[in-house]
C-alpha cells in the first residue's frame, strides 16, 4: 500500500467515525436532534471535497516543506509577530476609523511567494508571537484565522500560471455569486438577523450581483497593469475574507456572539482595513522582492 492510498484510507476512516459520532450523539442524547440526512450528507460532501482537492494537488510543489520553507516559515512568523507588536505599540495615526495595520501584508506576501504552508505558518505562529510580545495570550481561533490569511494566497502555486489562477477565481466568484443570488431570489422573505422578523432580502441579491461584477471588472483592470498585481491582490483579498471570516464565525461558538456581533464587531472592522492595507503594501513588497530575485538569481 503506497503513501497516498494509506492517507486516503486514513481520511476515509476519519470521515466514517465522524459521521457515526454525529449520528450516535443525535440518537443517544436529549436536546436538538439531527433532522433528516441533510446535515450528515453535507458534512460528508464537505470532507469528500477536501479529500478530492488534496489528492488532485498532493504532488504539487506548493505543499513541499524543505529547508528553504522551514527558514522562510520562521522568518515570516518572526516578522509578522514583530510588526504586530510594533504597530500595536508605537502611536500611529488613524484615518476615518480605518486603522493602519501594515503587518497584514506579511502572511499574504509570504504565502503568495513561498507557498501555502509557509503562508499558514507565518500567519498562525506570527500571531502567537505577536500576542506573546504584547502579553495578550493565546487565542487558537484567531491563530488559525491568521494562518488562513497566509494559506489562501499560497494556493496560487497550485496553478500552472497566475493567469489560470485568475481565471479559476473569476469562475469561482461568478458561480458563488449566482448561487447566492439565486437562493435569495427563490426565497427572498426570511427571518432578519437584526430584527427577528420576516423581511424581504431581494436587495441583497442585487447587491451580490453588482459586487460580483465589480470584482470581476477589477480583475481585468488590474490584469492590464500586471498579472502578478491582479493575482496577489485578489488572492490576498480572498485570504483576508476567509481568514477573518473563519475567526469571527468561530467566535460565535467560542464566545457566544450573535451573528450581527461577529460581523459588526469583528469581521467588518478587521477585514476592511486589512484588505486596504494589503492591497497597497503587498504589491510594493512584491516589486522589491522581484527586483532582488532578479539580481541574485535565487
Amino acid at each position: 500500500m503506497n503513501k497516498t492510498t494509506r492517507q486516503a484510507l486514513n481520511w476515509l476512516i476519519v470521515l466514517i467515525v465522524f459521521v457515526l459520532l454525529m449520528a450516535l450523539a443525535s440518537a443517544l442524547t436529549s436536546g436538538d436532534k439531527i433532522r433528516g440526512v441533510a446535515p450528515i450528507g453535507a458534512t460528508a460532501v464537505g470532507i469528500i471535497a477536501i479529500l478530492i482537492l488534496y489528492f488532485l494537488t498532493a504532488r504539487s510543489v506548493a505543499w513541499e516543506v524543505g529547508t528553504r520553507q522551514v527558514v522562510y516559515m520562521a522568518i515570516g512568523a518572526a516578522l509578522y509577530g514583530l510588526f504586530n507588536y510594533i504597530f500595536n505599540t508605537i502611536p500611529m495615526p488613524s484615518v476615518s476609523q480605518v486603522a493602519l495595520r501594515p503587518s497584514v501584508c506579511i502572511p499574504i506576501f509570504f504565502g503568495y511567494v513561498f507557498g501555502p504552508v509557509v503562508g499558514f505558518f507565518t500567519g498562525a505562529v506570527g500571531n502567537i508571537l505577536g500576542d506573546f510580545l504584547t502579553g495578550w495570550g493565546v487565542y487558537p481561533a484567531w491563530d488559525v484565522g491568521n494562518g488562513l490569511m497566509g494559506l489562501v494566497p499560497g494556493l496560487v502555486m497550485l496553478f500552472a500560471d497566475k493567469k489560470r489562477s485568475l481565471n479559476f477565481l473569476t469562475i469561482l466568484v461568478a458561480v458563488l455569486i449566482i448561487i447566492a443570488a439565486a437562493l435569495i431570489f427563490i426565497n427572498p422573505r426570511v427571518v432578519g438577523p437584526w430584527t427577528g422578523e420576516i423581511e424581504d432580502f431581494s436587495f441583497w441579491a442585487w447587491a451580490f450581483l453588482i459586487g460580483g461584477v465589480v470584482v470581476i471588472a477589477l480583475r481585468f483592470l488590474l490584469e492590464r497593469a500586471s498579472v502578478d498585481l491582479a493575482a496577489v491582490n485578489l488572492w490576498g483579498t480572498l485570504g483576508i475574507i476567509v481568514g477573518i471570516g473563519f475567526a469571527a464565525i468561530a467566535d460565535i461558538w467560542v464566545n457566544g456572539y450573535s451573528l450581527a456581533t461577529a460581523i459588526i464587531g469583528e469581521f467588518a472592522p478587521a477585514a476592511g482595513p486589512n484588505i486596504l492595507n494589503a492591497m497597497i503594501l503587498v504589491p510594493i513588497l512584491l516589486a522589491a522582492y522581484r527586483a532582488i530575485q532578479a539580481r541574485t538569481g535565487r
Binding site: 516543506v65 484615518v95 506570527g126 508571537l129 495570550g137 464566545n255 450573535s258 486596504l276
Partner: protein
C-alpha cells in the same frame, strides 16, 4: 528598539509543570468551557482559571495593560450581543421574559423606531458571556508570562508536531530579537532622513504607502540573509533524520495528574453537555422580577 518577552523565571508550582501538560490543560479547559452557558458552571471555570493565574504569581502591574485592552473588547462585544441577538450559532435561549422596555426612540431623517427590551434571559446570558470570556482570557494570558519561549519548539514536538514545524517555531522565537534590532536600525536611518512615523500625512492610501520605507527594507533584508541560513542548514544535512533537542522534557507525577485532570474535565463536560446539563440558567428571582416566575 528592545524586544523583550513577557516571560520571567519564577519558582512557582505552575512554572514547575511540564509545558506540554499546561498546553493540554488549556485546550481541554477551552473545549469544556464552550459546551456550557450556565452561569454557575461558568463561574466555576472562571475560578479554576483564576486559580491558575494566582498560582503563577502574576501581578496586576505586569498584566494590567493586557487585561485593560481585552476587557474593553469583551465589554464592547457583550453589549453588542445584548443589543443584536441571543448569542451562539444555535440561539442560547428561545423564550424571553420582559423586565423593562426602553424606548422607542425615533431616528431623525429615516423615521425608524428603535427600542431595547431588557429581558431576564438576555441579562443572564450577558453575565454568562462575560464569565466565559474572562475565563478563556485568564487561561490565555497566563501562557506567555509563564512558559519559557526557548521551550516552545520542543514542547510542540512533544505534542506531536513534525520536526520541521517544531524547528521552524523554535527558529521564529529566536529570530525576533535580531529582527527587532534590524527594525530599530531601519527606523533610525529613516528618521535621520526626516521620516516621522508618528506624523504621516495625506489620506489613508498615502499614509499606508508611506509605511513602506519601514517595512520593505526589514523584510527584504531578512529574506536575503535567509539564504545564508538555508545554505548553513543544508550543509549540516537538515531534515535528513530525526532531530535531537537541547532541552529535554520529562513528565513527572504532577504533570501526569494535570493531564488526567484535564482529560476528566473534558470528558465530564462532554457527557454533561450531551445530557442537556449546563444550558442557560435563569434564576427564579430574575423571572419573578419579569413577572414570569
Amino acid at each position: 528598539m528592545l524586544i523583550a518577552w513577557r516571560y520571567r523565571e519564577r519558582d512557582t508550582i505552575i512554572q514547575r509543570l511540564d509545558p506540554r501538560a499546561r498546553i493540554i490543560f488549556m485546550v481541554a479547559m477551552l473545549f469544556s468551557i464552550i459546551q456550557f452557558w450556565d452561569l454557575r458552571i461558568m463561574l466555576a471555570f472562571l475560578g479554576l482559571a483564576m486559580l491558575q493565574f494566582g498560582l503563577a504569581r502574576l501581578t496586576w502591574r505586569e498584566t494590567r495593560r493586557a487585561w485593560l485592552l481585552i476587557s474593553a473588547i469583551i465589554l464592547f462585544m457583550t453589549v453588542l450581543t445584548f443589543f443584536t441577538g441571543r448569542g451562539g450559532i444555535q440561539e442560547a435561549y428561545q423564550e424571553e421574559h420582559l423586565i423593562r422596555r426602553l424606548g422607542p426612540v425615533t431616528l431623525p431623517l429615516t423615521g425608524w423606531q428603535l427600542h431595547l427590551d431588557i429581558t431576564a434571559e438576555k441579562s443572564i446570558f450577558a453575565l454568562s458571556q462575560l464569565a466565559r470570556m474572562y475565563a478563556i482570557t485568564a487561561l490565555a494570558i497566563t501562557i506567555p508570562y509563564t512558559i519559557d519561549p526557548s521551550l516552545y519548539g520542543v514542547t510542540f514536538r512533544g505534542l506531536g508536531l513534525p520536526d520541521k514545524f517544531a524547528y521552524a517555531m523554535d527558529l521564529a522565537f529566536r529570530f525576533v530579537p535580531t529582527l527587532g534590532r534590524d527594525f530599530s536600525v531601519t527606523l533610525d536611518a529613516q528618521r535621520a532622513r526626516g521620516y516621522e512615523v508618528e506624523r504621516l500625512s495625506g489620506g489613508i492610501v498615502a499614509q499606508i504607502r508611506r509605511l513602506a520605507p519601514l517595512l520593505v527594507p526589514v523584510v527584504i533584508n531578512a529574506i536575503v540573509s535567509a539564504e545564508d541560513i538555508i545554505d548553513a542548514m543544508d550543509l549540516r544535512a537538515f531534515g535528513i533524520g530525526p532531530r535531537t533537542w537541547v532541552h529535554r522534557l520529562a513528565y513527572r507525577p504532577a504533570d501526569r495528574a494535570l493531564i488526567l485532570f484535564s482529560g476528566l474535565i473534558f470528558a465530564a463536560s462532554t457527557v454533561l453537555a450531551f445530557m442537556g446539563v449546563g444550558r442557560l440558567w435563569v434564576p427564579q428571582a430574575l423571572l419573578r422580577l419579569a413577572g414570569g416566575g
